[in-house]
């Protein structure tokens, strides 16, 4: 049992996966020798050697495309895309091949890889180092898209993604990579040998992050702790009781959790960094209205990034949903 940051927890999961199954390989830019620009893959090269922990040429399509072949041959590739904004060169390989290989092979040869993407803003980075492309993948059939928020989830979900037969887009909220520590048990969260329900459910269920009854905030990644903070603030300032749900799985969405939390609270807000139009928030909002509109006392609100390119970093605080914007968004729904 140790107190780990998300980076350390991810690293732990990788070590565990590598030691449990020698078919697991890792490839990406600068992942081996240096352990990745965020150090998520540190120590793997030394422990498992250059045949399994691979610094590749600088080509995202090449990385993902060859990983399709690796997986076809029976390996379990974990791919790192260095930053969110550099996943686009691999877009064709991801949505046309990774997503459709299972379908095209009668479910026999899914491209069973994990594509890890450190994503989102808030780290004062240059252009294309702060994008949130998750909705593009959620809208591209054949993928699972997940995003952990806590170190413990990060570890368990990454292990689940690796053992899971279908391809998983694994969004890592880089802003909270080192933002806090959490106890992460040394015991494995499930039996890695079998793709059992535990692993699958880690990739398809939401998590209650904070209790509350007046309104529920649905968020994921770095906006979860902000939403919790906004809830605390509204508790202190106005005595309102806000529930926060960490979506965790962006495709498929945990529709049961979403609708029952929304019904229970009667008011809901969705929060994410990605642009608003046709984002995850639009889907969550639609699902809630479609299914439980009569339980609602107000339309579902959205606090999201704007429909603009992620700004240069001096303005990223203007772009990113802040505690205050989330709180105001909640108040708007509350006062409807």
């Amino acid at each position: 049992m140790a107190e780990l940051t998300m980076v350390e927890a991810l690293n732990k999961a990788l070590h565990e996966a590598f030691s449990a199954d020698d078919r697991v390989v890792l490839l990406g830019e600068d992942v081996a020798q240096t352990g990745g620009v965020f150090r998520v893959t540190a120590g793997l090269l030394k422990e498992y050697g250059g045949e399994r922990v691979i610094d590749t040429p600088l080509s995202e399509a090449g990385i993902v495309g060859t990983a399709v072949g690796l997986s076809l041959y029976g390996l379990l590739p974990v791919v790192e895309i260095q930053f969110d904004g550099f996943v686009y060169p691999a877009f064709e390989q991801i949505v046309v091949h990774v997503a459709r290989y299972g379908w095209r092979t009668n479910g026999e040869c899914p491209a069973n890889m994990v594509i890890r993407i450190p994503f989102g803003g808030g780290v004062r980075a240059p252009e294309l180092h702060s994008d949130s492309p998750e909705a593009l993948f959620a809208h591209s059939p054949g993928l699972k898209v997940v995003c952990p928020t806590t170190p413990s989830d990060a570890r368990a979900m990454l292990l689940a993604a690796i053992t899971h037969p279908d391809p998983v887009i694994f969004m890592e909220p880089k802003r909270i990579y080192r933002a806090g520590r959490q106890e992460v048990s040394d015991a494995l969260p499930f039996d890695l040998g079998s793709t059992n329900g535990d692993a699958s459910s880690l990739l398809s269920t939401a998590r209650l992050a904070r209790e509350g009854n007046d309104l529920v905030i649905f968020a994921y990644g770095a906006t979860v702790p902000l939403s919790v903070e906004a809830a605390e603030k509204l508790k202190t300032d106005k005595g309102t009781s806000l529930r926060v749900v960490d979506l965790r799985s962006l495709y498929p969405l945990d529709v049961d959790a979403i609708t029952s939390h929304a019904s229970a609270c009667g008011r809901a807000l969705v929060v994410h960094e990605a642009p608003r139009t046709a984002g995850i928030g639009a889907e969550v909002s639609s699902l809630i209205h479609e299914r439980v509109m009569l339980d609602l006392e107000a339309p579902v609100g959205r606090v999201t990034g704007f429909d603009v390119p992620f700004p240069q970093f001096a303005n990223e605080d203007d772009y990113l949903p802040s505690v205050e914007r989330i709180a105001r968004g909640a108040e708007k729904v509350l006062s409807f």
Partner: protein, 385 residues
Amino acid sequence: MSTQEPLRIIGDGGELPDHPVPDGLGEKELLELYRWLVILRTFDERAVMLQRQGRVGTYPLYWGEEGTTAGALFACEDADWIFPSYRQCSVGILRGLPVATVLGWVRGYGGPAGFYNPRDYRLGPICVPIATHLPHATGVAWAAKIRGERTASLAWFGEGATSEGDFHEGLNFASVFRTATVFFCTNNQWAISTPVTRQMATRTVAEKAAAYGIPGIRIDGFDPLACYKAAKEALDRGREGGGPTLIEAFTYRIKAHGTADDPSLYRDETETQKWAQLEPVGRMASFLRRLEILDDDKNDELKAEAKEMVAEGVRGLESVEQPGPEVMFDYVYASDNPWTFTEGLEEVNSVARKPEAAPPQPPSPPSAGDVEIQPGSGAPGVEEA
């Protein structure tokens, strides 16, 4: 690095001399390779007929390119993985894939009626998006290398495919990780209506190997033995740790790009007729006759066998039911279907099902493309005259 004059084995029995049969090909093997050519030719001609009859959809003809497919495949060991593009759609039948499955694919069937398990035949799915299967071929041979196994891979693609980024990335990874991958380019000089001179400034495809520090071999793509020899040497070299090879099979697209295409719109078909003289099936037959390995009887027998094989496939196709709507959902994930699928299937099942639609008929007006578009009877919502 690259050979500018295409390698040729089979001559014309006249001025052009035959060269020695490549090592390892005895009478039996030569006949077997010829049998493969006949099968591919028979399939192709039958598929075109089926398309004309409206029994399958748009079909990418390969008449004249049988040597590039059969010759290269003949060089592969059973354990080697092969990656076809749409133009090699039928190659799987030479590895035991049912003819009916390939025809099912052309008829627009998904699920087991049109798709297959690649691991059963070490055969990648038929690849429609140009060049994107090249990194997959690299990955498979790379995986074998990582696992310490001697499996090689071979991918077919056209000269048009060399313009895509995936071509470059697939070859570069293969060269850096020295994977046993053979990149087999059928330079048939046309990409739909675009001539090879518009694809590249080099005179040959083989020259491009220099960018990866790998061998680039140019062969006569109408010569099945040249295709065999080049592929065999490349596969052997790859398995010995010599890395990948780029092979350019120089040939010509004798027929249309696909059944929806009318090449007379963009090229001189008298030129085509000249190239057609070089077609590999007749050429191989003449060669075998010169070697006295083939006679009329044997030839007729092989043709009859091939015809029956394909006919059986057609019967198989006709006996398969159109897949039900669940085929859209059932194979997308290997794990449990998400709730969205359950709801989707319910929705689909809630309405009456249309009868199976006929594949499209030959186009009018002509289209150069992959799809035949018919003038409609007029769509509602658009004011009609």
